[in-house]
């Protein structure tokens, strides 16, 4: 019950936050970002009359304050408006592109955790040995290597030179039909529907972009895991546990890890939230139809409603992730009550 109250209270805090964000974005798109969206949706020969008609239809002729109030009124009803570029509701557009980003990002995050955390832990356990050096090398290169460069290298070697990876085109081999949409994740949907060809293709095209994203995401996780572990392994209770003759697995996994991983949980939320905004570079290079490209196109074409919608989505995503992080924190560390 306490948890429930806590969650509801946290979600209520979203309201003033989103209000502030919508206001800032609304002003930014219309005042700071130059460019008239109408110019982007009609050919250059279009008459002024036609342009005016469209501007009126999209409500661009009202004063900014009125536009904002109308926008907020619709937003309360869950309507983020219609994209200038596509004429489709922005909510629908974001839902369309979200699964691609969600799927890729989640696998990348899992891979990053799967490698980064053990790597950090092992590096901490064998400090200053070769494995620690390797961990350091991977972390530093993960942070400093531009993701587009890594992506191009991966494509060049795995696809082009050695031909062991499939063509980096989107979420599935273009000749195959995408699995029926259930969750929006191609891997899961094809598994549920028993579409093995699609499953194989979906997994194989995921590999390279997942590695590209995971490499950068892994670095901060490994560093966090290492420093957390180093700190914990030096505490008295660990020394005591070992002195009592407990097996290393018990010591590391049961006693040390739980405490060492607290900062990793926070870092995971930060990195995950960042990735869920979509990576324009990775999505562009791998022709991945995700939110990063959606946002990029929206900005490039001054598509006000789409930009606003995207920022709202990203904000909400962060808030929700941090809420989940706090809940996990509490589960891991009962000292922090709700």
């Amino acid at each position: 019950m306490n948890y429930l109250v806590y969650i509801v209270r946290r979600l209520f805090l979203l309201i003033p936050l989103l209000l502030g964000v919508t206001f800032v974005v609304f002003v930014l798109t219309r005042v700071v970002i130059a460019g008239n969206p109408i110019d982007q949706i009609v050919p250059p020969m279009a008459s002024q009359e036609q342009r005016d008609r469209l501007a009126e239809r999209y409500g661009l002729t009202d004063p900014i304050a009125v536009q904002y109030l109308k926008y907020m009124r619709n937003l309360v009803r869950g309507d983020m408006g219609v994209s200038f570029q596509t004429g489709l509701p922005v909510t629908r557009e974001i839902l369309k592109f979200f699964p691609a980003t969600f799927e890729l990002t989640t696998y990348a995050m899992l891979l990053a955790l799967l490698i980064g955390v053990p790597l950090g832990v092992v590096a901490a356990v064998w400090r200053d040995t070769w494995i620690d050096q390797l961990s350091r090398f991977l972390s530093v290169s993960g942070v400093s290597m531009p993701v587009f460069w890594l992506s191009l290298l991966l494509i060049y070697f795995f696809f082009f030179q050695w031909q062991i990876a499939p063509a980096p085109i989107g979420r599935i081999n273009p000749r195959l039909v995408a699995p029926d949409t259930i969750t929006g994740w191609y891997t899961i949907d094809s598994l549920i529907t028993g579409n093995w060809k699609a499953l194989q293709s979906a997994i194989s095209v995921l590999v390279l972009p997942t590695i590209a994203l995971a490499y950068g995401a892994m670095a901060p996780l490994a560093r966090m895991a290492r420093s957390g572990m180093v700190e914990v392994l030096e505490t008295d209770y660990i020394r005591t546990a070992r002195a009592q003759g407990l097996r290393w697995r018990t010591v590391v996994f049961k006693y040390a890890l739980k405490n060492a991983l607290l900062p990793v949980v926070t870092m995971t939320a930060v990195v995950y939230g960042f990735l869920l905004g979509g990576s324009v570079l990775v999505e562009n290079i791998f022709a991945w139809p995700g939110l990063g490209r959606f946002a990029y196109n929206a900005i490039a074409s001054s598509d006000y409603t789409a930009i606003q919608g995207f920022v709202l989505y990203a904000t909400t995503m962060f808030v929700v992730l941090f809420l989940i992080t706090d809940l996990i924190y509490r589960a891991l560390n009962p000292r922090i009550g709700p």
């Binding site: 130059a34 250059p44 596509t86 592109f97 082009f160 030096e234």
Partner: protein
């Protein structure tokens, strides 16, 4: 920080840990699986961007979208598809044939044009495709009042009432002033014939012409070679053969998959690896890397697109003809052609591009000559030059490179140029307001291959005379000869206009870029349509089919 507690584990325990790491590694490697491909009569084409808005009469200006409409819809008339001496297919921009029309005829005065529709045609869903659908289409065009309506009106078809339904297979267009523009203005996507049975149910008081539905759908109203099977936004567009298309036997493939691959180097890599059959929009600097690849063929065609440096004719010091001439003598034409376009283009020598009737390079005197440029600048009252700003789009690599060359050259005659990069949308907005002072323009191509149509838009129209050029004699000639059928008089007028415009130098004439398309060597039948550059998919096939 204390010492390392590494010694708290035994060797056995370390082995255990290693095993965990090893297991993880093996799992990851197992994820790397290859994949085989095979399917019939399907071509995969890599395109750089998604399509936007499929309403034929209220579409956006982007090439991807217009290409799809061109392949999905049929019109009354189309460009004649010809085979040249070398066996290449070309859509002749000056010769028109019936598309769904079986015959096109005109009365002697040229005031009535009659289209006879091929009998027994149907839309993709089986509904009759006849003169009633044509009438509905033109009612919609004029009712909606967009660019298509303007272009039809420009050819002296004065509104919906001028398009008369005679019987189920006959439709007549009344022409108030006989002219040569009509068919050229009609052979394009704006005139896509639509199915009233499908479109009408979506027409509402709020949206009287079903724009919202047509913007995103074509199902059942396809009249052309293909049907739009899927449009997976941001990812892929699939077209399948329309079995009801009147000329479907001539369609050489069954399915076209357009895969959106935004990154140019990825498009290139996919093509070289054979993952796609055709790649659109490959940067010219990358073409050289394809030359030694026996599996890839590059085709190039001179376009009628005009690339120029625009100088606002109403803003000092560019309002001074001598200044514009001086700049025209200082521009490094050859360098831009060879180093920026990498040789994929030709010098533009007139406002009327090569390939359009009555083009001449007789009056093009400009070549890089700093002494002459300096003398002109001194005569104009700027012996020491001046400072100015040159504006370009920040997403156009060619513009950026050109800007640097222009800046370096103009420095030689004392003109100090600051390069201003603008985001695409902001650049377009200012362009459309005609408020750029000194800028780079390389996009325009006139879909109607008529010199007066072309001159009207670029040197006179309120929308697109981006340099605010104004000359009473030139404007009078454009007015008089746009709607005129006297070929000799039109030619004389076109010559006079070219002479005046080249002397007045509202633009520095840069280039006509090539259209470049790269495909696998076994892809055959590419047809080049110089009128609009849109790829017609129906002629494409693989050698092995």
């Amino acid at each position: 920080m204390g010492t390392v507690p590494a010694n708290i584990f035994t060797g056995r325990e370390r082995d255990d840990m290693h095993q965990v790491v090893r297991l993880l590694t093996i799992t990851l490697l197992a994820l790397l699986v290859g994949l085989g491909l095979a399917q019939d009569r399907t071509l995969i084409i890599a395109i750089p961007a998604d399509i936007q808005n499929l309403d034929p009469t209220l579409s956006s200006g982007d090439i991807s979208t217009q290409t799809i409409m061109t392949n999905v819809y049929a019109y009354l008339v189309d460009f004649a598809l010809e085979t040249d001496a070398a066996g290449n297919l070309t859509g002749n921009p000056d010769v028109f044939v019936g598309d769904i029309a079986e015959s096109i005829s005109s009365n002697d005065e040229g005031t009535v044009v009659t289209f006879k529709i091929r009998p027994g045609l149907t839309f993709s869903n089986g509904d009759p495709l006849d003169a009633n659908a044509v009438k509905f289409t033109y009612d919609r065009i004029f009712g909606q009042g967009g660019v298509t309506a303007f272009l039809t009106g420009m050819a002296a078809v004065d509104g919906a009432d001028a398009v008369r339904l005679v019987d189920d297979l006959t439709i007549e267009f009344d022409i108030s002033t006989p002219n040569t523009l009509l068919l050229g203005n009609m052979a394009q996507f704006g005139h896509s014939i639509l199915n009233p049975n499908v479109v009408q149910p979506f027409m509402t008081d709020e949206d009287p012409w079903a724009h919202e539905w047509l913007q995103n759908n074509t199902a059942g109203t396809e009249s052309g070679p293909y049907m739009l099977e899927t449009w997976d936004r941001g990812n892929q567009i699939v077209l399948v053969r329309n079995p009801n298309y009147w000329n479907t036997d001539a369609v050489q493939n069954d399915r076209i998959i357009l895969q959106i691959i935004p990154d140019a180097s990825n498009r290139l890599a996919q093509l070289r690896a054979g993952a796609v059959d055709i790649a659109i929009d490959i940067p010219t600097k990358d073409i050289a890397s394809l030359e030694n690849d026996p599996n890839v063929r590059v085709e190039r065609f001179t376009t009628r697109a005009v690339g120029y440096l625009g100088m606002n004719n109403t803003v000092p010091p560019f309002d001074n003809k001598l200044v514009r001439q001086a700049i025209s003598y200082a521009v490094p034409y050859d360098v831009i052609l060879n180093n920026v376009l990498n040789g994929f283009g030709i010098q533009l020598t007139s406002p009327i591009p090569q390939g359009t009737p009555y083009h001449t390079d007789e009056f093009f005197v400009y070549e890089q000559d700093f002494e002459k440029a300096q003398a002109l600048l001194a005569e104009a009252g700027f012996p020491n030059g001046f400072e100015t700003t040159f504006t370009i789009r920040n997403d156009n690599a060619e513009a950026k490179e050109s800007a640097v060359w222009v800046q370096a050259s103009l420095r030689n005659i004392g003109i100090d140029v600051t390069i201003e990069e603008m985001p695409g949308a902001a650049f377009t907005e200012r362009m459309q307001q005609r408020n750029h002072t000194f800028f780079y323009a390389n996009q325009w191509i006139s879909i109607n291959n008529d010199p007066f149509y072309h001159l009207f838009w670029l040197l006179k129209a309120d929308c697109c005379d981006y340099t605010r050029y104004q000359n009473d004699r030139v404007w009078a000639l454009i007015d008089e000869f746009t709607l005129n059928t006297d070929a000799a008089a039109r030619e004389a007028a076109a010559m006079e206009i070219q002479e005046i415009v080249l002397d007045e130098a509202p633009w520095a004439f840069l280039f006509q870029p090539d259209f470049v398309i790269a495909m696998r060597s076994d892809v055959e039948g590419f047809a080049w349509y110089s009128a609009d550059r849109y790829v017609r998919y129906n002629t494409l096939r693989k050698a092995s089919w």
